[in-house]
């Protein structure tokens, strides 16, 4: 037990300080690992949302009023913010999913996995800035703009 732990510790310490960290033999703690953690979290989140979402859509089979009442919650300011978060999560998952596909199927995918991570983060920001604006525009103007 203790032997294993100390060996691993030493190996870790020397490797982390030395070349193999730079040449990327360490996965743990690498941005590549965090991109996977986020991919997992956003995937689960979307799946849970979908569960609720199909059930709320099913209210169209109950009555127009029942559906309209539930869909009103989507227009609530707080829920509106959650929608931005959901869109952000799905967008990250989609972009990172494309990156995973390129790593798996493109001959030079592994070599470029890190620049591709910075690229998808860049794309994410570029899409989310105007996206957030359009999603919140009306809510914000109704809350703070005096309203018409």
């Amino acid at each position: 037990m203790s032997t294993t732990a100390s060996t691993a510790g030493e190996a870790g310490a020397s490797d982390r300080a030395g070349a193999s960290r730079r040449t990327g033999t360490f996965y743990r703690g690498d941005p590549g690992m965090w991109s996977w953690v986020l991919h997992r979290i956003t995937g689960v989140l979307t799946f849970f949302f979908l569960f609720v979402h199909v059930l709320d859509t099913a209210l169209v089979r109950v009555s127009p009023n029942a559906y309209d009442e539930v869909i009103e919650t989507y227009k609530n300011p707080v829920v509106n913010l959650l929608e931005v978060a959901l869109v952000g999560a799905v967008l990250y998952h989609a972009l990172n999913g494309i990156r995973v596909l390129l790593v798996d199927f493109w001959s030079r995918g592994t070599q470029f996995q890190r620049p591709m991570l910075w690229t998808i983060i860049g794309v994410w920001v570029l899409v989310m800035v105007p996206g957030t604006y359009f999603m919140l525009e009306r809510t914000v103007s109704e809350l703070f703009g005096g309203g018409n």
């Binding site: 199909v54 859509t57 089979r61 127009p64 559906y67 227009k75 929608e83 989609a94 494309i98």
Partner: protein, 141 residues
């Protein structure tokens, strides 16, 4: 991995005949499925989110009449149906992997998967039924 090395640790590894390893290719197919469905979902889900949240008025224009207008067209019916099935199977398969990763006891794993499969069947059934039986003239309340 373990299963494989166990199969190879035979008494007579070079004997001309040994029982074929009874492995299924399910995990390979599900790996491929995750990638193909993911590609399709990029268009389906991001398109859906763009239409619902950003295009003319976003969520503020959503109501029964809006859905009735969309589901009058077979194109959007098919879009939603494909999105329902692919997202549910893709997400469900992803969750199956996650349960395998984190559940420590066999019984926990078994029951979590049962819960997952039941919820998948429920959602696929309800979602499909709703698209196929949608009635724009249903009474208001």
């Amino acid at each position: 991995m373990t299963a494989q090395s166990e199969t190879l640790a035979l008494d007579k590894p070079r004997s001309p005949r040994r029982p074929a390893a009874r492995r299924s290719n399910f995990e390979l197919y599900s790996w491929v499925f995750m990638r193909i469905s993911g590609l399709a979902l990029v268009v389906l889900v991001l398109g859906h989110l763009f239409i619902m949240n950003i295009l003319d008025g976003g969520v503020h224009r959503l109501n029964f009449a809006f859905v009735a207008g969309r589901w009058a067209s077979p194109f959007w019916q098919f879009w939603d149906l494909a999105m329902l099935w692919l997202a549910q199977l893709h997400g469900g398969n992803g969750l199956r992997t996650i349960i395998d990763d984190y559940a420590r006891r066999d019984s926990t794993r078994f029951w979590l998967k049962m819960l997952l499969y039941v919820s998948m069947v429920l959602i696929l059934f309800v979602g499909t039924l709703v698209i196929f039986t949608f009635d724009p003239d249903i009474p208001a309340s």
